[in-house]
């Protein structure tokens, strides 16, 4: 009797699929697939956008209804009609407060002092990151609004990030806290010394490179974009504020922690600066 054997097909299939995936990743990383992948992602985003809006329009009222039901159930013995009126008034109050806050944020975005003559497009944040492994946001403006890859994005307070994907009506912004983000910055008295601010993950402070040891930094000192030639951001945008700095005994650089000037955890509206690095 022949010994039992296992089919080799699954292993061959796996090998071929792994090779295909590694090839795709390598080509994408080297830029060989940039046109294809960004094009396909853009088409997918455009095609999916109406589906997302439609489903959200259905799901959000259901969620509101369920939340309202829980609240309503707790006071069922009370006068139902009166309670419904109170709920309605509360809802109106909340809506008005929400709209006032939106108006305040939008008005402030239209008058950001550091933008100068730079043109910008206001945008609403639609998603806080589609991946748990990257600090990104999705916004509701895209190519049709003049947005292009690598355009800077600002919010109330300062720099938010950089456009890394763009479709017809939407764009994805990599936040300055993302591990892949690096921002050229200036600090200290004019003309200022140069540093690079690196992200290390959402919700974590930024770190600064190129700050010499024993540099006198004070907590609260603001680093702004350097605007050097070929820089990714125009000059003078506030980026982050120092929260701690110290020098190790043998270190050649100051160890600096900074928090972003913009409140990245509670973004609702941002502005995309219509500015390209070559300008």
């Amino acid at each position: 009797m022949a010994p039992p054997r296992r089919s080799r097909r699954p292993r061959t299939t796996l090998l071929l699929l792994v090779l295909a995936a590694v090839t795709i990743i390598t080509l994408d990383a080297r830029g060989g697939l940039d046109v294809v992948t960004s094009g396909v992602r853009s088409v997918a985003s455009d095609a999916f956008s109406p589906v997302r809006s439609g489903v959200n329009a259905i799901v959000e009222p259901i969620g509101s209804f369920l939340a309202g039901s829980v609240h309503y159930g707790a006071v069922r013995e009370q006068n139902q009609k009166l309670q419904a009126e109170i709920d309605q008034l509360k809802s109106q109050d909340a809506t008005t407060a929400d709209q006032s806050e939106s108006l305040r944020q939008l008005s402030a975005l239209l008058n950001l002092p550091y933008l100068g003559n730079l043109q910008s497009v206001p945008a609403q944040v639609t998603n806080f990151g589609t991946s748990n492994f990257a600090a990104t946001i999705d916004i509701n403006v895209g190519r049709s609004d003049g947005v292009q890859l690598s355009m800077p994005v600002v919010g109330l307070g300062g720099l938010v990030g950089l456009v890394v994907q763009v479709s017809h009506h939407t764009a994805t912004v990599r936040l300055i806290t993302d591990g892949q983000s690096a921002v050229g910055a200036r600090y200290g008295p004019a003309p200022g010394s140069l540093a690079v601010l690196n992200g290390v993950g959402a919700g974590r402070p930024l770190t600064a490179d190129l700050v010499p040891s024993n540099t006198p930094l004070t907590n609260g000192e603001v680093f702004v974009t350097s605007g050097l030639q070929d820089a990714l951001f125009p000059a003078g945008i506030p980026v982050a504020r120092v929260v701690s700095s110290h020098t190790g005994d043998t270190a050649s650089q100051e160890s600096v922690s900074l928090v972003p000037e913009a409140d990245l955890a509670h973004l609702r509206y941002v502005s995309v600066i219509l500015w390209a690095p070559s300008q």
Partner: protein, 178 residues
């Protein structure tokens, strides 16, 4: 794979994408959102065995990559590895046992997220290991374990028949059958 099965699987994948991109992205537990796309290669591995688990994991991974800001192809790579591993690990188990899907979803998702972070880091994005990996693993694994049973029904409908591929065979047995 027949045309009918392909069509049903496409519908299932589309539904998963819709739920992920609309409902799941709005749920944040400790800053982490659930990721039901990870369930597809795991459930495909349980139902279809290693080969189909790997193929479906690769394909659904590519679909996921369309909506993610990370490297294109990374989800496909991890998806095919996890689909294969789950298929292989569950070959000898009773696939009708109710606990198989939640338990495999729990372990498979944890393995998926760790592999995703490590491979992403190795393949050029070192920051992927600087995220709160433990929190991601816990949140995504537990939510996937909870959602595994209804998701299993859906994927079973999409994949017409369970596969015995990869299971031990015997020449003598084949001869006897003839």
């Amino acid at each position: 794979m027949t045309r009918g099965e392909l069509a049903r699987l496409s519908v299932v994948v589309f539904l998963f994408v819709v739920v992920q991109e609309t409902v799941m992205l709005d749920i944040r537990i400790g800053g982490v959102h659930p990721d039901i796309m990870v369930l597809l290669p795991i459930l495909a591995g349980i139902i279809g065995g290693p080969s189909r688990g790997a193929s479906i994991g690769f394909t659904t991974g590519l679909v996921s990559d369309l909506f993610l800001p990370t490297q294109f192809g990374l989800s496909a790579l991890v998806g095919c590895l996890i689909g294969f591993a789950v298929g292989l690990a569950t070959i000898a188990l009773d696939r009708t046992a109710w606990w198989l899907a939640p338990l495999t979803a729990l372990g498979g998702t944890a393995l998926y997220e760790v592999t995703y972070g490590v491979l992403g880091s190795v393949l050029g994005q070192p920051q992927m290991l600087h995220v709160a990996l433990a929190r991601i693993v816990i949140v995504v694994s537990v939510t996937n374990a909870v959602l595994a049973l209804p998701a299993m029904r859906l994927v079973q409908w999409g994949m017409a028949e369970a596969s015995t591929e990869g299971m031990p065979t015997s020449d003598a047995g084949v001869g006897a059958a003839r």
